[in-house]
C-alpha cells in the first residue's frame, strides 16, 4: 500500500521526465551531435589540465595523475547535477514570460515541478568523460585500496552531486531578485565547478573561505581526493575534512532551500 502510494505520488514527475527524455532521443542524429558536442567541451577542459601539467610537474602538492582524480570526481558529480538540475537556470525565462504561474495551478510543490520539468540527456557524455578521468586517476595515482577508499569514493560522488544540485537551487532562488541575473549566478555555479576541479591548496585565504566553505566546492572533489590519496592537506583544509563531504551537501541544500523559499515569497509578494 505504501509502495503504490509512493509510486502514485511520483507519477506526475515520471510522466514529464519520460516524455522529455523521449523527445530528446526522437531525432537520433541530432541527439548524437548533442552528445558529441557535450563530450567535446569535457575533453577541452581535460586538455586544459593536461597542458598545464606538461609545463609544471606538480601544482598545490598534486601531480597530474592525482589531479585527474580531482577533475574526474568534480566533473562527474557536476555533470550529473547539471543533467538533472541544470535547467533551473531557465527560471528567468519563466519569470519574464509569466509562465511560472502555470506551475502554481498544479498540485505539486513548485520547486519539484521545476526540477522535474526537464532533463538534459546530452550531459551524459560529459559525465562519461568525468568518469573516465576518475577511472584513470584511480588506476594511476597510487591509490591504496581498502575499505576506507571503497566507502569514501561513492560517498564523495553522491555528496558532490548533491552539493552541486543544491548550488543550482541556490542560484535559482536568487533569480527571483535578479531578473537579468543569470550571468551573475552562472558565474557562481560554473565558477564553482571550475574551482572544484582545482587543487584547493593553491587558493588564497579568501578563496579558501569562499569556495572552501561558503560555496563548499573543495568538499566535492579536492578534499575527498586528498583523503583517498593519503595526502596531508593544506592549511585550513585538513585531509580529514574529506569525510565531511555530506555535511557540505547538507549546507548547500540548506542555503539553496532558504534562498528558494525567500525568492518564492518575494515573487508572491508575501514579504521577505
Amino acid at each position: 500500500m505504501a509502495e503504490t502510494g509512493l509510486s502514485e505520488r511520483l507519477r506526475p514527475y515520471r510522466a514529464v521526465l519520460a516524455s522529455r527524455a523521449r523527445s530528446q532521443r526522437v531525432y537520433r542524429a541530432n541527439f548524437a551531435i548533442d552528445l558529441g558536442s557535450s563530450a567535446l567541451v569535457g575533453l577541452v577542459e581535460l586538455a586544459e589540465v593536461w597542458v598545464l601539467f606538461s609545463n609544471v610537474t606538480a601544482l598545490g602538492g598534486m601531480r597530474f595523475h592525482q589531479i585527474l582524480l580531482v577533475f574526474g570526481l568534480a566533473d562527474l558529480s557536476f555533470s550529473l547535477a547539471d543533467l538533472s538540475f541544470g535547467h533551473l537556470d531557465t527560471l528567468p525565462d519563466f519569470l519574464r514570460a509569466g509562465t511560472l504561474d502555470v506551475f502554481y495551478l498544479r498540485p505539486q510543490p513548485i520547486l519539484l515541478q521545476l526540477i522535474t520539468s526537464d532533463i538534459s540527456l546530452r550531459r551524459l557524455a560529459r559525465a562519461a568523460i568525468g568518469a573516465a578521468a576518475l577511472g584513470v586517476g584511480l588506476a594511476t595515482a597510487g591509490v591504496t585500496w581498502g575499505p576506507r577508499t571503497a566507502v569514501l569514493l561513492p560517498l564523495a560522488i553522491v555528496s558532490g552531486y548533491a552539493t552541486f544540485a543544491g548550488l543550482f537551487v541556490w542560484a535559482a532562488g536568487l533569480q527571483f531578485f535578479l531578473l537579468d541575473g543569470a550571468e551573475m549566478t552562472n558565474a557562481f555555479v560554473y565558477g564553482g565547478r571550475y574551482a572544484a576541479t582545482q587543487p584547493a591548496a593553491v587558493w588564497s585565504r579568501p578563496l579558501k573561505l569562499v569556495f572552501g566553505f561558503f560555496f563548499p566546492m573543495a568538499f566535492t572533489a579536492y578534499l575527498p581526493a586528498v583523503t583517498i590519496l593519503g595526502l596531508p592537506g593544506p592549511n585550513w583544509l585538513p585531509a580529514w575534512l574529506g569525510w565531511y563531504a555530506p555535511a557540505a551537501a547538507v549546507w548547500s541544500w540548506l542555503m539553496g532551500l532558504l534562498c528558494w523559499r525567500w525568492g518564492l515569497r518575494h515573487y508572491q509578494g508575501g514579504g521577505g
Binding site: 516524455s19 502554481y104 498540485p107 509578494g269 508575501g270
Partner: protein, 328 residues
Amino acid sequence: MSGATNTGAITTGAIIEADGLTREFRVRDGKRRRLVTAVDGLTFAIEPGEAVGYIGANGAGKSTTIKMLTGILVPTAGSVRTCGLRPVSDRRRLARQVGVVFGQRSQLWWDLPVRESFRILAAIHALTGAEERDRTAELVERLELGSFWSVPVRQLSLGQRMRAEVAAALLHSPRLVILDEPTIGLDVLSKQRLREFLVGERRLHGTTLLLTTHDMGDVERLCDRILVIDHGRLAYDGDLPGLSRTVGVERVLVVDLAEPMPDLTGLGGARHLSSEAGGLRQRLAFDAEQTTAAKVLAAVSDKAEVLDLTVEEPDIEDVVRRIYAAGR
C-alpha cells in the same frame, strides 16, 4: 443549477469569498519607489454554479485578483477563500478543485502532441485510468479536438490552441473554472464553439465560471452576473439588464441600402447614428432591452430596400467607461 454537480463536492457556502481584498505593488518610477494599489478593498461572494463576468479596463486589477484567488499572489490586506480554502497556504489542495485558463500563457507542452500533454496532465492530477479515458473522450468530442489530437501544440492555430487550453484546464473536472480572456483574438466561429462548450459544461457538471473578457458577447451569452472593477474597486455588481438600465448598453445595426436615402430618423426604438456614401450605409443604435434587431430591420425595410446588414455588439470598453463616468 439544481443538483447538477457530480463532483461530490459539498456545495454549501460561497465558492469564492473576498473580504476587503487588497493588493499593493511597489513600482520603480524613475529613481523613486511608488506604491500602487492594484486591488483596493474588494468584497464579494460567488455562489457555486454561478457564471460571473469580471470586467474592467486594462490595468483595472483583474489579473491581480485572479492571482490572489488562485494562490499565486499574497494579498496585502483582506482575506479570500476559494472553494473554502486559503489560496496561498492550501494552494496544492486548491489546484485539484480549480481550473484556470490564462489566454496568453499556455499550460501545454509546446513541442509535444496535444495527446501527450493531456497524458501528462492526467498524471499531474492523479486521475485514474478510467477517469482519464472518460474525461478525455468527453473533452475531445465536445471541443472537437480530434482533428489535431496528434499535432504538436506549436503547430496549432490560435482557435485550436485555445480549445486545447480550455480542455487542459478542465481535464481534472474542477468545480471552479477561471478564464482570463478566453476568446481574445479568436474568430467568430471559434468564439461561438467555446461559449457553447462552456454553457454545456455548466449545465452538465454545475461548474462555476469566472471569466475576464473584453468581449460583450462573452458576457451576454455566458454570464448571469457581472462584476465591474475600476481602479481596483468594485464599480458594479449585478446582472446584464441591470447594467443596461444603469448605463444603456446599445447595439448598432448597420444596413446597406439599395439606393441612397436621407438619414433614417424617427424609427421606433432606434436612433440614427451616422450615414456613409451619401446614405447608402446607415448606422442605427438600439437598446436590446427595448426592442430587437428584427423589429428595427422591419422598420427600415418599410422605408428602403436593405441589401446587407451587420449587428455590432456594444463595446465593453465603452460600457466600462460609462459606468466609471456614472460613478463619479
